[in-house]
């Protein structure tokens, strides 16, 4: 980085700080829209498009970027407190976040999540800035074959979740994959398993599935208890100690934050891949290489850090192909592209020569947003965590009504509310009979993507299955995938042997 770039970056950073009056309210807006299933940064920017277009370019960019970052972080808050991920990108967060809340550690969990999100987001922003030309090429090298392996990294999480009861876990995961196959196939558009509903021709919409499996089913389960938090773990009065404990726990695991956020960054730069894939892959990798994999799913801080750091790493990743190549990495980036084009911004490498303040300004807006978010949101964790002490007789109906309507929002079909209810019944049965709803959801989210890349690969090779091993990068990823399955088993066996030695 030469001195002129450094001076531009410094100048832009301080200029962006001057927009605090836009960033602070936008952060709170982002936390709200991110936390309600069905709302997201993308559709909020669309709804507020007239406002965004009326603002000058710099203000509009700061608004969109801070909303994007805050919504990503906001999706994790209900996931931790009430087991309801605000978006599919936070679907792996409740695996360990919610058990922490039930143990009365909601405040700690929120602090851990905020630190992981902010450091992950901030760090990947810096890395994205520094390595932009290299990262921009990642999208070119990731073809359908390579994407199959990336999907398998995420899907293999089903096996990890299934560890307690392998047969039931596999039934849940593969049922999810089957449900995810509903809709038309990507090559000939043949309808499959749609029960004759036109609304299912595009596949199973994710938000109703998420709402039903997590929110509705959880609401029916929590009414058995007076409050969410376990009786003997009721949280103390608001205090700073738990927040600082959470910060300390997260900072102690800084290496974990770094590598899981980099997973998010790399997946984020691949157009079409998203936060949900990144968080599942990061969780699976984190568990695979952990010294205490058996603690995952029970309220383990590392199981919370991994998905949160990764899905915030995705936010900076999606900007790279947008700015360098003009290819949006996700829905929000696509909307940003429209707004920036309206203001006459042209993308590509020339952006950083002709309008460096715009190019670098987007990353700086992200960095500033994360810094301000950390300072404004962290103190609130002590109050937010008290959602877990609201009596369930009030909380459960509120969860059901607002999330069911959230299921309606993305496509505005009444059908989607019925679908959310049907998924709610499925989720409730699954919870009561020992099947993991997260395994079903992983299948529903990643199944269609895996099938799409698989069919594209087969189509390109005229049905030759060996195409899966035809590329160098693909083969490297296959080896990495095999290692990520085998090495944890080897480490586990060695640990077991070490523990057995003293007994002998």
């Amino acid at each position: 980085m030469d001195s002129s770039t450094a001076s531009i970056l410094t100048e832009v950073f301080f200029e962006t700080l001057g927009y605090w009056y836009i960033i602070v309210p936008t952060i709170f807006l982002g936390l709200i829209v991110g936390g309600i299933p069905g709302f997201s940064a993308a559709n909020t920017i669309i709804i507020l498009m007239p406002l965004t277009l009326a603002l000058d370019l710099q203000s509009g960019l700061v608004f969109m970027i801070s909303l994007y970052c805050a919504a990503r972080m906001g999706a994790g808050i209900p996931a931790i407190l009430v087991n309801i991920p605000g978006t599919a990108g936070a679907a792996a967060t409740p695996l360990d976040g919610y058990p922490m809340s039930k143990q009365g550690k909601g405040q700690q969990a929120l602090a851990i999540s905020f630190v992981a999100s902010c450091i992950g987001g901030l760090l990947t922003t810096v890395i994205a800035l520094a390595a932009m030309p290299i990262l921009a090429r990642v999208g070119f090298y990731m073809h359908s074959v390579e994407m199959i392996v990336v999907m398998l990294f995420g899907i293999s999480l089903i096996a990890s979740i299934a560890a307690q009861d392998m047969v039931k876990g596999l039934i849940a995961g593969f049922l999810g994959l089957m449900i995810g196959s509903i809709g038309t196939d990507v090559v000939y558009a043949t309808p499959r398993g749609t029960f004759g509903f036109l609304e299912l021709y595009d596949g199973v919409p994710l938000i109703p599935a998420l709402v039903g499996l997590f929110a509705v089913s959880e609401a029916f389960v929590i009414i058995e208890k007076r409050v969410i938090v376990n009786h003997d773990n009721e949280p103390k009065a608001p205090n700073w100690t738990d927040t600082f404990d959470g910060v300390r726990i997260a900072l102690k695991r800084w290496v974990h934050i770094v590598w899981t956020s980099i997973i998010g960054l790399v997946i984020g730069v691949i157009p079409g891949a998203g936060a949900s894939i990144a968080s599942f892959v990061a969780y699976q990798q984190s568990r695979s290489f952990s010294k205490t994999p058996e603690r995952y799913g029970t309220g383990h801080p590392e199981g919370l850090i991994a998905p949160e750091a990764a899905n915030n790493g995705v936010t900076s990743g999606t900007l790279v192909p947008l700015l360098v190549l003009g290819i949006p990495g996700g829905a929000t980036a696509a909307i940003m592209l429209v707004v920036m084009q309206f203001h006459g911004v042209s993308f590509g490498p020339s952006l950083f020569e002709n309008q460096p303040k715009v190019g670098y300004g987007m990353f700086m807006a992200m960095a500033v947003s994360y810094v301000i978010m950390f300072l404004t949101i962290l103190p609130l964790s002590r109050y937010m965590s008290h959602v877990t002490t609201i009596p369930t007789i009030y909380l459960a109906p509120m969860i059901i009504s607002f999330t069911l309507v959230g299921g309606f929002v993305p496509r505005e079909y009444m059908f989607d509310m019925y679908l959310a209810l049907a998924f709610g019944v499925l989720g409730y049965i699954a919870r009561r009979t020992g099947y993991h709803v997260a395994a079903i959801l992983i299948g529903v989210i990643l199944g269609p993507l895996l099938e799409k890349y698989f069919l594209w690969s087969l189509k390109k090779s005229d049905g030759d299955i060996m195409v899966l091993f035809s590329s160098t990068l693909g083969n490297i990823l296959w080896v990495a995938f095999a290692m990520s399955i085998i090495l944890p088993l080897v480490f586990g066996m060695r640990r077991k042997r070490k523990l057995e030695v003293p007994a002998e």
Binding site: L175, A396, V409
Partner: protein, 170 residues
């Protein structure tokens, strides 16, 4: 392995609901792709085939549990009399009603009715005044944020139409 005599028998009937649903759905799915091009079949046959295999293993496991007397074909893990006492059945009925009538009554009115009735059921009629107050407040906040401020296309009914007329003329 000797079973614990104090432990209630495993309710296998409830545990079989999802595998039976999975098998039924997979067979239905296969029937919809039987004459389709291979692109529509390949992934479904692979995933569905494996799912049928795992379900078959689970069925065999259940038969073994039943033969050893470690479980019954009961559904106590899914439905019990407690579901009536805790208000779960009532909550399910109001939820179904919410989804069915929201299109006709609109978001605000239906949300108020749903929240008030469900909370009253769960609270067994206690704190009626507070419940009605909180239900009204939540429904109005929902209307103000989602419909008035964000202009989201939530289902609209009498209340939303009236408020829109009031706003336009006010």
């Amino acid at each position: 392995m000797a079973s614990d005599p104090h432990k209630p028998p495993r309710q296998i009937g409830g545990e079989l609901v999802i595998p039976i649903f999975a098998v039924g759905f997979t067979l239905y799915f296969f029937s919809t792709i039987w004459n389709s091009p291979w692109t529509a079949q390949v992934s479904a046959f692979m995933v569905g085939g494996f799912l049928l295999l795992v379900c078959a293993i689970f069925f065999v496991r259940c038969i073994l549990w039943l033969r050893r007397g470690q479980g019954t074909l009961g559904f106590a893990n899914l439905f019990t009399v407690d579901d009536l006492r805790t208000g779960r059945i009532g909550l399910l009925a109001t939820t179904v009603g919410y989804v069915m009538f929201i299109d006709r009554l609109g978001f605000t009115l239906m949300t108020f009715l749903f929240l008030a009735i469900s909370m009253l059921i769960l609270a067994k009629g206690r704190n009626a005044g507070f419940i009605i107050l909180i239900s009204g407040a939540m429904a109005l906040i929902g209307w103000a944020v989602f419909i008035w401020a964000f202009d989201t296309r939530f289902p609209r009914g009498w209340f939303e139409t009236t408020m829109q007329a009031v706003m336009n003329n006010g």
